[in-house]
Amino acid sequence: MKKLLNNKNTRSNLVIYLVVTVFFLVMQGMNMGGMLTSSWKGFLVPICVYISLAVSLNLLVGICGELSLGHAGFMGIGAFAGIVVAALLQDAVALEPLRLFIAMIVGGVLAGAAGFLIGIPVLRLRGDYLAIVTLAFGEILKNIVGNLYVGLDAEGVHVSATSAKFTLLEGGKMILDGPVGATGIKKLATFPMGFVLVLITLFVVLNLVNSKEGRAIKAVRDNRIAAESVGINVTAFRMKAFVVSAFLAGMAGALFGLNYSSMAASKFNFNTSINILVFVVLGGMGNILGSVISATVLYVLPEALRSLEDYRMILYAVVLILVMLFTWSPRVKEFVSVVTDKISGIFKKKEVETNG
């Protein structure tokens, strides 16, 4: 009995790892074999990044039950931290994957630290108020990150919050240029590293969910008062989930930042947070495999619709609304089942007729 239960969890986890690995191997194989189009080659890393973001946000929204609208803020911290670290280590660490990995870890740690600092005040609130405060923090983070000036020259690293007195020595390199962001980034991100990121994310989130911490987090979601009454420190566990989620978002952000040659803080705005949230909700709350798949599909979908030109985004909007109605609305679901019954009824009738 107990074994069976364990098996069930392990089995569903294995399915997730399997799907991800197969996807990676197929894509990597096609890539090496030159069978991928330029577009798809370009999608590979962002897909990994968005999977990781969606899964980490799912930990917060689906499993912990806290609506966060500021996930992109952590992504942004990770991205810029990663860009700065990678630039500083340009000469110190020659091996590119290692430099990238260090950048991702630093990005994750900084985002996690920001998550902790923000968590102290924020996690006193609940529900929609928590949502608005995370939104506010996301905007604050973007605003602050977007006004940082970081430069490297012979003297060392210079950091400032205004451009007014920011000057570098001759031959110095501007790493972050305020709202304009980072330009001339050395692209380090690779698809295999994206795959590693997804594996790390899945490993952390799945292991967390199926442990005593995960049970406590789910208990807090299901019934906060009861969880307290059995000795669970609710704030501590919301905090753990928040920090882990921010850490993973930071790692993903670092990979994202190092996948492009220029990156502006405005990328990490409310809209990006919302997009990640859409991945989570459409994939199913608390459903990790759902997040993985919906992040992939919904990232590619608007790109696949490019031939529609002006009607592309409006169609995306319509698809979004319809999917929400079809997956959530009890009435629409009922209607669909009636229609499908009727259709299958017609087919059955025909079958009977042809048989008879």
Binding site: I132, A136, T162, M313, S329
Partner: protein
């Protein structure tokens, strides 16, 4: 004198936020959903008003009425088609749908009216008032916006406390199931709320664009988020709270731009919001509800 001028500017933009926030608060209070498409209804309202005055050549007040009519219909339509089927589902599902609606309205507006920004000619015929030898200017828009926001606030308060429909709205907002048992049609009441909220959005759109003249499909997005912040600031669900929140937000935003930093004004505005929520978790005038054990 300088500080007074900034105060006036702040109150002026704050009053616009207040009108938008009133719509947000109404919808949130009664339908219990964050309607992120509210900002885009504002944009539609402004476009309608723009078209009526510029293409049909009709007077300003007609354009406002037309905008209100169209937005009311639009609000009801959106509610019936997109939100009503999702009643009773988790609020997150409705939130995502609202975002879909927001994308739809923005991109639809671009298809209809094009992406080129339009310059919205102010509908306010009043001349500016110059005080203190021209150092202090109060524009007609400021006067009209502030008057309108106060009138709307008073009107809404009277409406929700004195009329039958208004009382029904409050009943639905307090306890939907109980209201239904009392014979109140929850669906009709919520539709009515959307109608009123959207009509307010139309007014807000016209006044917003009279104050800040650029009109394009994304015009409503940022003020929408600001106004939402204002509504939470004042205590979401509270009518005077939305008014207070809007005005305060406008003043804080203007002052931080003028005296602290234009770059960090966003960070400052949102930090104040967070501090307020930590001190008063339900906003300035919101009701704190204790969970029953």
């Amino acid at each position: 004198m300088q500080i007074l001028q900034y105060l006036i500017n702040g109150i002026s933009i704050g009053a616009v936020y207040a009108i938008i926030a009133l719509g947000y608060t109404m919808v949130y209070g009664i339908a219990k959903m964050l309607n992120f498409a509210h900002g885009d209804i504002i944009m539609v309202g402004a476009y309608i008003s723009f078209c009526v005055t510029n293409y049909l050549g009709l007077p300003a007040f007609v354009s406002v009425i037309a905008a209100m009519a169209v937005c009311t219909l639009l609000g009801i339509l959106i509610e019936k088609l997109a939100y009503m089927p999702l009643r009773g589902t988790p609020s997150l599902a409705v939130l995502i749908t609202a975002i879909g609606v927001s994308y739809f309205l923005q991109n639809g507006a671009q298809l209809i009216w094009g992406s080129a920004p339009k310059n919205f000619a102010s509908i306010v015929p009043l001349k500016p008032v110059f005080l203190a030898g021209g150092e202090l200017v109060i524009t007609g828009e400021v006067i009209v916006t502030i008057l309108a926001s106060v009138l709307i606030m008073v009107g809404l308060t009277l409406f929700t406390t004195k009329t039958k429909i208004g009382k029904a709205m409050r009943a639905v907002s307090e306890d939907r199931a109980a209201a239904q048992l009392m014979g109140i049609s929850v669906n009709n009441t919520i539709s009515m709320t959307f109608a009123i909220g959207s009509a307010l959005a139309a007014i807000a759109g016209v006044l917003l664009c009279s104050t800040v003249p650029t009109l394009q499909p994304t015009t409503g997005a940022m003020p929408g988020i600001r106004a939402f912040t204002a509504a939470v600031f004042g205590g979401i669900g509270s009518i005077p709270g939305a008014m207070l929140g809007g005005i305060l937000l406008g003043i804080i935003e203007t002052f931080s731009k003028a005296f602290i930093s234009t770059q960090f004004s966003d960070a400052i505005v949102f930090s104040v919001l967070i501090i307020i929520l930590l001190v008063k978790p339900a906003g300035l005038l919101g009701k704190q509800i204790q969970e029953k054990v």
